[in-house]
Symmetry: C2
Subunit: 358 residues, 2 copies
């Protein structure tokens, strides 16, 4: 296969790859094949620790070196390419790394990696070419390093916006908490446990992730319920109860978005999480599979979590009591199949519950 | 420059490009240079309209053709590469397009573009090579098409998550509206007008975008104020007023996030949007440039919008009255420089205000 083909085959993989480690492995293999060297390694600058560390290196685990040490350190500092045909004669070469790895570096080509603003963010090294490095190798390595920088930056940008998006959703859930002080982290637990149940039901990974985020917002509609009802300590009067029962519809209206699957699922969960398998729930009295799968999952998770969690008033139920209740409510409040799956994975449920207890 | 170099130079540009039209132009130039043809065009399938349309084509504007017409239609349907050395003899060729463009297609190579799930999403065409297409050209074009598909898909994913993120923030602002029924779209107008003022102040584009989103959430803290105070129609008692004055702090606590610049700015706006230039505001009585620039902008925009907008009680002020008030409050409530910029761009402020009036 000629070099052009090698590169073109790698390009779409690089562009689509969403995992940093995989990405760097693909890039390093690319560099290895194109420059025809024995090994490649990519060092990234850790500004806080003043170190350089490899996010990928052929044949070795992570290497960490002080910021200004070795050839990589020299290149990171100067932002200039460095080539040596005899590493042990280079005044910058750090022999210690070879000693630790049990490897013999003969020759070495190191190029800096720049972000789009021109700041050095790392160093790409190619080690042990059987012949000497040619000027075309250096050119090639520089171009691969540029491609690597673009791909890494792109991926980090994507990760950043995804992270931000999750944060917004958590804040949305938290906003609802201001009105309805559920036990701390209630909504986070609902998210993680609902995702677990969805996984055990065999739903695909993307849908499980959506459920994790969407389910946290199921009670957001309580924002629209007046304090005098939401915070009343005694029993609600019938007319007050009618108003309270509107929180699923308010949540639906707030969340629904015709262009976003995430918000559609979040909206349907908000709308239907108080429906019951036997049709005696609210707001519409839907029953069995008329209720969306999402809401049937969240209803089980939400109820169980509420039972076993410490509240301001009243003791939490013991685990046994809560499990018995869930059993007893099969086909009454809950989808029996999902209850079975839920109870069948109680160890994992409790693991999540413990982790996010407060 | 050899082909390998052409490709490697294009790769980081392609990877970093965030604008679809620019991306396709880069890709088409790449294909043009590597296959050595006169023109390239990329057709995308519009499922809803059952059409194929060019998102880029050398030398022409958008072309739209029915889904099954022409060589592009044939390739889209079959998912197979098609080559002809004499287009006018091909039974699939659509002569009409040449007629409209005043162009003479001699030979043509068309390859399908697949998404990562293997579905055809478009067709990449290379037109008029001076010699015949070689098998290596076909291979190259297929690989470029794969690269194009990956880049397009990647970009669309990024756009989608960005869009979702914006939606979450808007929903967060809307959630606050449930408690404090501001005039409709108040928070959206605050966002767009604040961005306008920031632009006129010469802030960079990224910061202006952040302000657009961050400012919409300035009143989110009202979620934490009891209804009896928030919705009281008469004057607040001193103790009620003390509680009301906590909404900036509640907003800050809800929004602040140490890893996100957006939420940091949103938090500081929520915290300081009732501070005054003369130090007589709340919650801390900060003055002049002790108050963040963001909050000084939003305070002006928020006050002005409230004055001129129809409310349940009381008439809105006329534009003249509101402008006079802003003038009069310079150096009292507001940063005088920002007021000057705000009033100096009144035509654009009103344009946004009209657009999002209801």
């Amino acid at each position: 296969m000629d070099k052009l083909e090698i590169l073109l085959k790698a390009a779409p993989k690089i562009t689509r790859e969403k995992n940093l480690n995989n990405l760097i492995e693909i890039l390093s293999n690319l560099a290895k094949d194109m420059i025809e060297v024995d090994r490649c390694s990519l060092f990234i600058i850790d500004e806080q620790k003043k170190e350089l560390y490899t996010i990928f290196a052929h044949g070795v685990n992570e290497i960490r070196i002080p910021m200004n040490s070795g050839i990589a350190g020299h290149v990171a500092k100067t932002g200039k390419t460095y080539v040596t045909e005899n590493a042990y004669r280079s005044k910058f070469f750090n022999k210690e790394v070879d000693k630790i790895l049990g490897y013999k570096t003969r020759n070495l080509l190191a190029v800096p990696i720049f972000d789009s603003k021109g700041k050095v963010i790392g160093v790409y090294q190619a080690v042990n070419k059987s012949s000497k490095f040619k000027s075309s190798d250096i050119k090639l390595m520089k171009l691969i390093a540029e491609f690597a920088a673009a791909a890494i930056e792109n991926m980090m940008l994507y990760e950043k916006i995804k992270e931000l998006h999750k944060k917004s959703l958590i804040k949305l859930s938290k906003a609802a908490e201001y009105k309805d002080p559920e036990p701390p982290n209630h909504f986070i637990r609902i998210g993680f446990i609902s995702r677990l149940v969805a996984e055990k039901l065999g739903l695909d990974e993307e849908k499980c992730e959506i459920l994790l985020l969407a389910s946290t917002m199921h009670d957001i509609g309580k924002i629209g319920i007046p304090d005098r009802i939401l915070k009343k300590s005694g029993r609600l009067e019938p007319d007050e109860w009618e108003i309270m029962k509107k929180h699923p519809i308010i949540g639906y209206e707030l969340l629904y978005d015709e262009e976003s699957e995430l918000f559609q699922i979040a909206a349907i969960i908000a709308l239907e999480h108080h429906e019951r398998w036997d049709g005696k729930g609210y707001p519409f009295g839907k029953k069995e599979t008329e209720i969306s799968l999402w809401a049937r999952i969240v209803s089980i998770v939400d109820n169980f979590d509420t039972l076993i969690t410490e509240k301001d008033e009243g003791e939490p139920w013991s685990l046994d009591m809560a499990v018995n209740y869930m059993e007893a409510m099969k086909e009454k409040a809950f989808d029996p199949e999902i209850v079975n799956i839920f109870l069948g994975n109680m160890d994992k449920v409790i693991e999540i519950w413990e982790k996010y207890k407060d």
